[in-house]
Assembly symmetry: C2
Homo-oligomer: 344 residues x 2
Amino acid sequence: MELDLAFIGFGNVAQAFAQILRDHKSELEEAYGLRWKTTAIATARHGCIRSVVGIDLIEAAACVSAGGNLADLPESLVARDTLEVIERCKADILFETTPLNVTDGEPAATYLRTALARGINVVTANKGPIAFAYSELRSLAAGHRASFRFEGTVMDGTPVFNLVEECLPGARVLGFRGVLNSTTNLILTGMECGRSFDESLEDARRRGIAEANADHDIDGWDAAVKAVALANVLMSADARPADVDREGIRNISVESMQSAARSGMTVRLIARGQRSGDRVKLTVAPERVPVDSILGSVRGTSNVLVLETDLMGEIAIVETDPGIKQTAYALLADMTRIHEGPDV
Amino acid sequence: MELDLAFIGFGNVAQAFAQILRDHKSELEEAYGLRWKTTAIATARHGCIRSVVGIDLIEAAACVSAGGNLADLPESLVARDTLEVIERCKADILFETTPLNVTDGEPAATYLRTALARGINVVTANKGPIAFAYSELRSLAAGHRASFRFEGTVMDGTPVFNLVEECLPGARVLGFRGVLNSTTNLILTGMECGRSFDESLEDARRRGIAEANADHDIDGWDAAVKAVALANVLMSADARPADVDREGIRNISVESMQSAARSGMTVRLIARGQRSGDRVKLTVAPERVPVDSILGSVRGTSNVLVLETDLMGEIAIVETDPGIKQTAYALLADMTRIHEGPDV
């Protein structure tokens, strides 16, 4: 069976995914029987199209990179906007990779609602909908016998949600702690080496890790939204980003890093979730941790998540120096999982 | 459907698993529809029995712990030996937890062959058969439409094999490195704190981690067998323990640990697998690593495995302070996976 794919958002992540699909086409068909064609792409600035014969993803990526309009691609049916694409496309899987809206997760949450209500399987790399509408979207998916997958929302393609779902059956997640934001970790690591906050931030921008406006990372919002996603999915928390007791890294000075270093410690921005009665207490804050601890060992853009469980004790998963390719891989992992059949 | 379970070997791991099954009976039925009864137990020193009505695992554990003979349990049919049990038992899953034989993996490999040839699904926590007969057993399982699972053979119940199989679809493992043996890591960690090799070994014995004869751990055999298991399963290596370039920790002195510490380093017994042309090069040796690296951060009985992959870059999984309960959990994870249906 050939899968029809639709893309909502077609930026770096989706384009890197297109590359993986092209480069691994024959292995994926051989190993998993995966075959596909692209039936729709919707973007905010480069047009929205559908296609009956199939869109060449590499051509589409070239068009978008060159600032063109997708309507110029051969045999494309132009749509008015993203919602029209979602309402009318013929798709087995819809990949949603639009930017995060940290206020309410919109319009991405509406995109996913619309797709799931049509029974289209959804893969998203956008943590907004998970932080603001997870339980609703999950019920909607179940009601329409559609899959709803989102491995790429936390720690890129590193197995986090799939790890717990597939590999820790019967175990209950009691709590978690982790370094989940690459920009702040790169800044803190820079300050460990004696560079100032501003120099370290500039370095993160030069390397393409931090955006021009990195407040969202520095003030701990990105980590908070990820903590909420983890709590909602792994601990049935039904939390929102505003529920997180959140402190960013603005007040960390080189002096405080050096003082920590003198006692074998360093500073990391740690996101924590801990069950407390019926609720899950969520915090994001800079913490002193031993340099030779697992949290301290994660430097640069690397991430780590430590999971406390009842049956399996404590395990941690680490992602080393992630790039856009790792986020794109999450889309592939989710696509493969959907292809294997409905969730049990 | 009620699963019929058979146990080959009924020591600490199987008994801890029996405890999990008892303590989580209702959750496992509710979440996974898991129901079971035990139809056979074979031991080397406490008899071999089958049962039509089902054996109470907790009673069996008490009997074995008290040095009794399983034949004394009610309604048990006495069998001559383990092979007779495997040949005659009515079982959907056979759990094999006999001791490792580092020379040839026998008789465990024969037990598994016999069970798989009867079409019985097999779960083992014994790395011998994986190190000596993996490809044969895998083919046998496929030929008889049986599952063959062995999560507990490396890093206890921490997802390693299931992690790659379930969560890293399409990705190729290019290499690995890890701290896989708890006894040597506990000794090295003790020496970090200034204790002698012998004191640290004695401490490991007191804590029940090292056996009376710990040569197998100290000389790197345990880590080597695990490296072979990883290479055979994750990298299709068809290697044997004798293929591993192996060096233990006997020559590590407190002085060399202190000298490493002066430059921010420590020593870990590292198992490595690296693809090199058609072969996988396997080594186990003490290595100097930075104290603040992920390999250095693993202390005491904790383990870590770093996987290099093509599509997902480098990820690591860490198990903190494992105990017998974590190995027992591997049996549950494998049992749940088998219950979900045949491998694709």
